[in-house]
């Protein structure tokens, strides 16, 4: 059930959308399995979904930003990207969390 072309060629937004979609399918399937732990059909799908999700998350974390602490290796520029990359509730470019990262005196959100 591989519904996507290569994760390596997607934009950040496209890849995040894929991760949301696959992860959600897995979330819903996991709850079904909690009450149907021996259902062959569900069990057949779940391994595929897990593999696809892990691949997508690995590639996203390598290409763009870490999604989990397990993927939070130090970036090539030596910075701790886990904390510096935007958080999920921020709308980029429209304020929210101060993006300058530290309380520098020229931070314009003060």
């Amino acid at each position: 059930m591989n519904q996507y072309s290569s994760f390596e060629s997607m934009t950040q937004t496209q890849l995040m959308n894929c991760i949301n979609e696959i992860s959600f399918a897995l979330d819903d399937l996991l709850l079904y399995l909690d009450t149907h732990p021996y259902d062959c059909n569900a069990l057949q799908y779940v391994n595929q979904f897990i593999r696809q999700r892990n691949t997508a998350v690995d590639i996203y974390s390598r290409r763009f930003a870490p999604l989990t602490i397990d993927h939070a290796e130090v970036a090539q520029d030596g910075a701790w990207n886990w904390i510096l990359q935007p958080w999920p509730w921020e709308i980029t470019g429209k304020g929210g969390c101060c993006s300058c990262g530290t309380m520098k005196k020229d931070c314009n959100t003060r």
Partner: protein, 65 residues
């Protein structure tokens, strides 16, 4: 006043009630079986990958006199 009671009514209901064999004084939700799934995009958009659990809301205020 003519009586409208029907002695056989409870028997009729009993025969056609699919839960007739279940013990009373308890609630029962039927088991879901595995059928076709939505594709990933549709699933996220609908809020479930199971079409049989997709029960949207269409309510609008009104219907009062």
């Amino acid at each position: 006043m003519k009586s409208t009671c029907r002695n056989t009514q409870s028997a009729q209901i009993f025969r056609s009630d699919p839960l007739a064999s279940f013990p009373i004084a308890m609630a029962y939700v039927p088991w879901q079986s595995f059928h076709k799934l939505y594709d990933f995009h549709e699933g996220l958009s609908r809020g479930t990958i199971f079409p049989e659990l997709d029960k949207p809301f269409c309510g609008r205020r009104g219907g009062y006199s």
